[in-house]
């Protein structure tokens, strides 16, 4: 919150950095990796929203996707496997003025980090979570991940996976206090950008699952969907994505879906015949952790000293 005078001054400031200023170095992802498209969409968002680089932080866990913070010329935290969310929560708690983004993968989020994921949804802290889902552990060269489709042959499943994959959208929608759930694909840049932008503007925990191609290890996985638009279902709504006329010519499967309709969102999430793209669910009124639980006292040096001394005194012999 800032004063109206400050807001006015900041709004009148129209300078913005070029997209190159948000780029740090050339990404070290494999040839044709879908992560490139996500990186470009995010850099475009930073430029368009004029995010100050010193006020923006990208937090990641471990995996291909988690190399993301290295390529952003902002603050970043390449953390431990599955632990991106608790670290992001800590950052947001201590520095609510920062724009917090989380990059996590299907392995990072839906396997080792599942507990954190579930509770992060429940906490509903204001952050944008991009789950790069390529259905495989790519960094360690092709092991079955929790979202690998049934029958996928990998190093850890030479005879094909035997278990049904987890559906990250259904899981997120099933957790109490979910407030923003969307799905995008890396190969439709316009909608990817729109989805990330809507997620960024949602005040709360916005979860975007991005289906991301891995041409190196599972090139066939999304090939059909990339080439055959009938495999895609676009969700449009005045409170959701706006589909351009050009895209409508290619993607004719469209549904007008009101993101406030949680029941329909669950049905869409469970679809198996087509890939739904758009905002499945949005509830701007879900309570946020930072609003319902906040410290009464400021963490001033004096206060911290007093509290610490009180604690130390307990151990005085």
């Amino acid at each position: 919150m800032s004063s109206a005078t400050t807001d006015r001054l900041l709004k009148s400031d129209t300078d913005r950095l070029p997209i190159e200023d948000y780029q740090r170095c050339d990404p070290r992802w494999c040839t044709g990796c879908g992560n490139n498209a996500i990186l470009t969409a995010v850099q475009k968002l930073c430029r368009d929203e004029r995010l100050p680089r010193e006020k923006t932080v990208f937090v990641s866990g471990i995996g291909c996707s988690s190399r993301f913070p290295h390529y952003m010329n902002t603050y970043g935290f390449h953390s431990l496997h599955g632990r991106a969310l608790p670290i992001a929560e800590g950052i947001k708690m201590r520095r609510p003025d920062l724009h917090v983004f989380v990059n996590t993968g299907d392995g990072d989020c839906c396997s080792i980090g599942t507990a954190h994921w579930i509770h992060a949804i429940r906490y509903n802290m204001d952050m944008t979570v991009l789950m790069h889902d390529n259905n495989i552990y790519g960094l360690t060269k092709m092991q079955t991940s929790p979202t690998s489709p049934l029958g996928l042959i990998s190093n850890t499943s030479p005879r094909g996976t035997q278990l049904q994959p987890i559906n990250p959208l259904s899981v997120t929608l099933g957790v109490a206090n979910a407030s923003f759930v969307a799905q995008a694909v890396d190969w439709i840049p316009d909608l990817l950008y729109q989805t990330i932008s809507r997620a960024f503007h949602h005040k709360g925990f916005s979860f975007v699952r991005i289906l991301q191609r891995c041409p190196e290890y599972v090139p066939v996985l999304f090939e059909e969907a990339v080439k055959d638009p009938s495999k895609i279902l676009l969700l449009s709504h005045e409170n959701g994505l706006k589909i351009s006329a050009d895209l409508s010519k290619v993607y004719r499967n469209q549904e007008k879906h009101d993101p406030s309709n949680a029941d329909r969102a669950r049905e869409i999430a469970a679809m198996t015949d087509r890939i739904p793209i758009g905002i499945l669910y949005h509830n701007p009124d879900a309570p946020r952790h930072e609003d319902v639980e906040y410290p009464d006292k400021l963490g001033t040096p004096q206060m911290i000293k007093t509290v610490l001394n009180e604690e130390f005194d307990k151990f005085t012999i």
């Binding site: 005078t5 040839t31 190969w187 006329a245 001033t300 004096q302 206060m303």
Partner: protein
């Protein structure tokens, strides 16, 4: 005939002696409709209310009845099982209602204890055990407490002050937190600078920061030598450091909110300002003396926020803040400050005071003024020959509404509980608010409860309830609400009244409660009425409500009366002075204009509707006439001929065809590019990225057809279409074109 002349004589000239009618000053008469309300303590109504001191905005006031209902709903078993509990609790409620009449400042808990004690002493011994058990159960359920107050002259300020205190507390908490956070963050900026200083990195300072346990484990001289050159050289510019220090000084010495202890330690300074005033003049003086402090505080808050966001640019912002003055304050920024509560007991005192109120209301400051009026009929008294009406009571609210951005609530104290949400809205409205409240005092004689008089003022349109909330929208329809008035589409409310006649037969009639009935209840106006003995009642006498509705011809033939009851519940008719009739007419006219503004019987809307109806009718008439002519002309032609002309086939709503692009030209579908660098790696001159980091053909001549085909093959999302070669002399073209054909 003679008797009628007497009545007219009174009606027109008001002289009791000449008209031969009875003076009523010695009689204890009340309007007939008051008969059912002689003992309000026996009736469950909105009062007394309990003023709760809770942060929950909606519960600053709850009526005793609502609290009791809530307790019973949650605790008393359904059906006959819970009957005993319901009876006892309702008895307690009535006991409290009777007890609080004579005592002030009691809390609900205290009143409850006294009431149960009194009841217990009167209860039958056989029921004592059950009574105690019931009380024990209910005591635990009694969660809501606070001062209990009846509908009296102290109510308006008590209610408003309670809500104000809650709002003020919440506001102070948020604003203080904001100021303290700014202080902390600015100190962080300075702190980072200190950590980089030579002093901090000196061997002694480093030794001190390690502590005594491990001081022998380090060589602090070496540590200092290692750390000092590694320290980044960027220092806080002196101008910025000074600006932060100046900002901190103002933030730490502000007096609008009591600051947290840690920021207070540094200076012994004056305590926080007070924001409660009892006159417009003192409030105005306070605001005028504080305005420069307010401007300064908002100025430094903005500077602090820009500094913290790292967006303060001296070249841009220095000039702006140098000229920052009172005129730079935005309404939203003013809302940051505590609200001024100004209680004008008795309303404005004279023209000067009115001018001050106007000045306060148009200042844009968050001022909340309670203009409490104990007497809305005072302009009828005195020696004035003319009887003006409503000058004082209505003028203030009308004046405030005309300022456009002032929140206005007008209500009698009896209605105040019903409009408590509006009261809260007014207090939390970011700009100025005026609350005009009529709360009956003892002016009109003892005996009549304050609640009854103020409720009657609303009922008789003498003091209608209205709220004007500028935050609700841009037009009158959304801003002005008169919905809290009874029977708002009527001139006067109508109530059914039953009584027995001389033959003990039950009779019932509708009584209109007009302004005249309201005045008739006031002893000070007894000379405007005269009692007509029962034997002289005639058909020429009509109820005042009916008389007011009649045209002047009919009025000439009739005499208005009001129906009154005495202490023995005997009905009397009082003939009314014509001057009062004129005052009542004026009251009705003012009510009409309020109705219009509130959207009831709006003349503009009615005229527009009439006009539209006429236009519609004319259009329909012409259509019908045309149809008739056509039908006549076509009666000889065949029906098939009429159908002969086929309608033009509609152009299908096909999507616009894409402009035909020759497959000979190479193309990249740029919007679908996923930025994988494949093509730009092949030839960065030929393929380039646009501002959105998506590939396009930058320079075809910078590369070969082979590179174009290879790029198409490498593109992960197949958006490069190589077309036909431009240079036909390029080697292996046949093979390349065959490969390219896959991407056309």
């Amino acid at each position: 005939m003679n008797k009628t002349i007497n009545l007219i004589a009174f009606n027109l000239i008001g002289k009791t002696a000449e008209s031969g009618l009875d003076d009523i000053s010695g009689l204890d008469l009340q309007p007939a409709l008051y008969a059912g309300f002689t003992d309000l303590n026996k009736l469950r109504h909105d009062f007394p209310v309990v003023l709760g001191n809770y942060d929950d905005a909606g519960s600053f006031a709850r009526s005793l009845s609502a609290i009791v209902n809530d307790i019973l709903k949650k605790n008393a078993p359904q059906g006959s099982e819970g009957e005993f509990m319901r009876c006892q609790i309702l008895n307690i409620e009535q006991e409290i209602r009777e007890n609080i009449a004579g005592s002030a400042g009691l809390s609900l808990m205290e009143a409850w204890v006294t009431a149960t004690h009194n009841l217990r002493s009167r209860i039958d011994n056989n029921l004592l055990k059950a009574f105690d058990k019931c009380l024990e159960h209910i005591w635990g359920a009694l969660k809501f407490d606070g001062q209990i107050i009846d509908c009296n002259a102290a109510l308006p300020i008590a209610m408003l002050r309670q809500a104000w205190a809650i709002d003020q507390r919440k506001k102070a908490y948020a604003s203080r937190k904001r100021v303290d956070e700014l202080i902390l963050r600015l100190e962080h900026i300075l702190g980072a600078e200190i950590k980089k200083s030579k002093e901090t990195l000196s061997p002694n300072s480093l030794k001190g920061s390690v502590g005594s346990s491990f001081e022998n484990a380090f060589d602090f001289e070496v540590m200092s030598r290692v750390l000092t050159p590694a320290n980044p050289r960027d220092r806080l510019p002196e101008g910025r450091r000074q600006r932060i220090l100046d900002t901190l000084k103002v933030l730490q010495s502000q007096r609008f909110f009591k600051s947290a202890k840690w920021s207070q330690k540094k200076s012994r300074r004056a305590g926080p300002f007070s924001f409660l005033f009892k006159s417009a003049a003192s409030a105005l003086r306070a605001i005028e003396s504080r305005i420069s402090d307010m401007v300064e505080l908002i100025r430094v808050i903005s500077i602090a926020e820009l500094e913290i966001a790292n967006r303060y640019e001296p070249a841009k912002h220095d000039a702006f803040f140098a000229k920052f003055d009172e005129s730079s304050l935005l309404p939203e920024d003013l809302a940051f400050f505590p609200t001024y509560l100004i209680w004008l007991d008795g309303g404005p005192k004279g023209a000067k005071d009115k001018a001050r109120i106007l000045k306060l209301l148009s200042s844009g400051m968050p001022v909340k003024i309670l203009a409490q009026n104990e007497d809305i009929l005072d302009s009828l008294t005195g020696s004035k020959k003319r009887l003006p009406f409503g000058d004082k009571s209505w003028q203030l609210a009308n004046m405030a509404i005309s300022l456009n951005d002032v929140f206005v609530l007008q209500s009698s104290s009896a209605n105040l509980y019903k409009v408590r949400d509006k009261l809260w809205d007014g207090l939390t409205y970011y700009g100025p608010a005026l609350f005009c409240v009529f709360s009956s005092g003892d002016l009109n004689g003892p005996g009549l409860p304050s609640y009854l008089v103020s409720a009657a003022a609303t009922e008789s349109r003498a003091f209608p309830t209205l709220s004007y909330d500028p935050s609700k929208g841009p037009d009158w329809a959304s801003r002005l609400s008169i919905s809290y008035n009874p029977q708002l589409d009527k001139d006067w409310p109508v109530h059914s009244f039953s009584y027995e006649d001389e033959d003990l037969q039950r009779l019932s009639e509708d009584i209109v409660f007009t302004f005249i009935e309201f005045v008739a209840s006031d002893k000070r106006f007894s000379n405007f009425f005269a009692r007509v003995p029962r034997r002289e009642w005639s058909e020429a006498m009509v109820p005042a409500g009916q008389y007011l509705e009649a045209n002047s011809d009919e009025q000439g033939k009739t005499i208005p009366y009001v129906l009154m009851v005495d202490e023995n519940h005997i009905l009397h008719r009082l003939v009314v002075d014509d001057r009062l009739i004129r005052a009542a007419r004026r009251c009705r006219e003012m009510w009409h204009s309020l109705q219009e503004m509130g959207g009831v019987h709006n003349s503009h809307a009615r005229n527009l509707l009439e006009l539209e109806r006429e236009l519609w009718q004319a259009e329909k008439d012409s259509e019908i006439a045309k149809l008739r002519t056509t039908a006549l002309a076509d009666s000889t032609t065949k029906i098939s001929d009429q159908k002969a002309a086929p309608s033009e086939p509609e152009t299908p709503d096909e999507p616009e065809q894409a402009q035909s692009v020759s497959t000979d030209d190479p193309v990249i579908e740029t919007p679908r590019c996923t930025t994988c660098n494949e093509c730009t790696d092949i030839n960065p001159q030929m393929f380039s990225y646009n501002d959105n980091m998506q590939a396009f053909l930058a320079d075809l001549s910078a590369g070969t057809y082979r590179q174009l085909v290879e790029a198409a093959e490498n593109c992960q999302v197949s958006i490069i279409h190589p077309g036909k070669p431009r240079d036909m002399s390029e080697p292996n073209l046949d093979e390349l074109m065959e490969r390219a054909a896959l991407f056309h």
